[in-house]
Symmetry: C2
Subunit: 210 residues, 2 copies
DNA sequence: ATATGTTTCAAACGGCTGTTTGAATTAATG
DNA sequence: CATTAATTCAAACAGCCGTTTGAAACATAT
């Protein structure tokens, strides 16, 4: 068993796929970076596509090991929400030298391919469930599931903006100011306070006029 | 002057670039769809890259003509915000048969290329300014510009989620429920109400404890 | 009608792509 | 040690890519 070759390929593939995306990445560059022969990918994985799926699998496996999301159960829901947001932002932005694991998952989120379903089931889904349970602590139990989903989407939407539209943000308000805003805990605090207002308003009045 | 050939090429290019992105689109398919000779692109535009920039230019020009955003000045700021959000959501999602103009701009927002700067200057920037002026009507004039920017980002972040992460959303909560949520005015109302709470809370207390 | 400039066309060029091949090398088994 | 299986390797394959070429077709003006 030459398992080391396989993992060397997957690691190199993860890097290249993360940097360039599936289509733009070339098997030649992957093999060169892994220092293996050009035919190795097809021999060990069948084709480029299957290698990609393996890379995404490893990405969210190791990503989960890196920093598990454990929120103390005894905290008030408001602080749990902050923990959640802060963790999510740090996961996406904070790495001084971002590993390819996160980068690859983000790519899959932005433009889902075959590997997307599994990513949702084993990575995004569980995190979303945690957020949902936090929200459920803060709203009346009579609130419909759909409305709770909308609240969760509003929270993650604010977070994802800073990951996926950073270049636009920089162009909009200028590099300097954008970078000065770009502190994880500062952004997390803003998003949390902003969201708490929206969530808690549904705790009292079910509908407002508009 | 065979200007008609140039516009035929740009139209076809817009479609293909919107569907596949710059790298994945091929000049052969563009020419085939435009029903022009293969060499026409290089003759009229120089190369593929320059054609792409022309296509993006036309995209936001015609996109602007389609539905200009004019918000009645006499409305209260809360309703202006709703108008803005509803317009933005409709722009991104509502088209029964979405034109390539929007699709191409969205692609450029997700992964900016050379054409991005101009897109921000002539399309995204003006819209963002409108949102900023609406927010300024609702918060104390003493609030720093940075804080107002954060508020604006929170609003657009919620909107963009439904455009850029729709496949993930479907996988998370199921196709059926996601599609049932997917009504522009319903989503716009939710986002607006949610955001109004966050914005207005800054109007009274500058800081909350966390 | 002739000459000039513009636009179209089929064909080819060089380069990069994922994949395959068959021999050479290494590891494992009797 | 001999034999078989698993792995590596250099080379080539077939196909698509953006771009170029030089001749043909067309339009315009003298």
């Amino acid at each position: 068993m030459s398992e080391i070759t396989k993992t060397r390929i997957i690691d190199a593939a993860g890097e290249v796929f993360a940097e360039k995306g599936f289509e733009q990445a070339t098997v030649r560059e992957i093999c060169k970076r892994a220092d293996v022969n050009l035919a190795s990918i097809n021999y060990h994985f069948g084709d480029k596509q299957k290698l990609y799926i393996e890379a995404v699998k490893r990405a969210h496996c190791e990503g989960e090991e890196d920093e598990p999301l454990l929120i103390p159960a005894e905290l008030p829901a408001e602080r749990k929400l902050y923990y959640f947001i802060e963790h999510m932002m740090a996961d996406m932005l904070d790495r001084e030298s971002p590993t390819w694991h996160v980068e690859l998952m983000m790519r899959e989120m932005a433009r889902p391919t075959l590997a997307c379903t599994e990513l949702v089931q084993s990575y995004i889904g569980p995190k979303f469930s945690i957020l949902m349970s936090i929200i459920e602590e803060m709203v009346p139990s009579t609130l419909t599931l759909s409305k709770k989903h909308l609240l969760a989407f509003s929270v993650v939407g604010q977070c994802l903006l800073y990951r996926f539209h950073r270049p636009i943000g920089k162009l909009l308000i200028g590099d300097d100011e954008f970078e000065s805003l770009f502190d994880v805990s500062y952004l997390a605090r803003h998003i949390c306070e902003f969201s708490l207002q929206g969530i808690q308003s549904l705790s009292v009045s079910q509908e407002t006029s508009l």
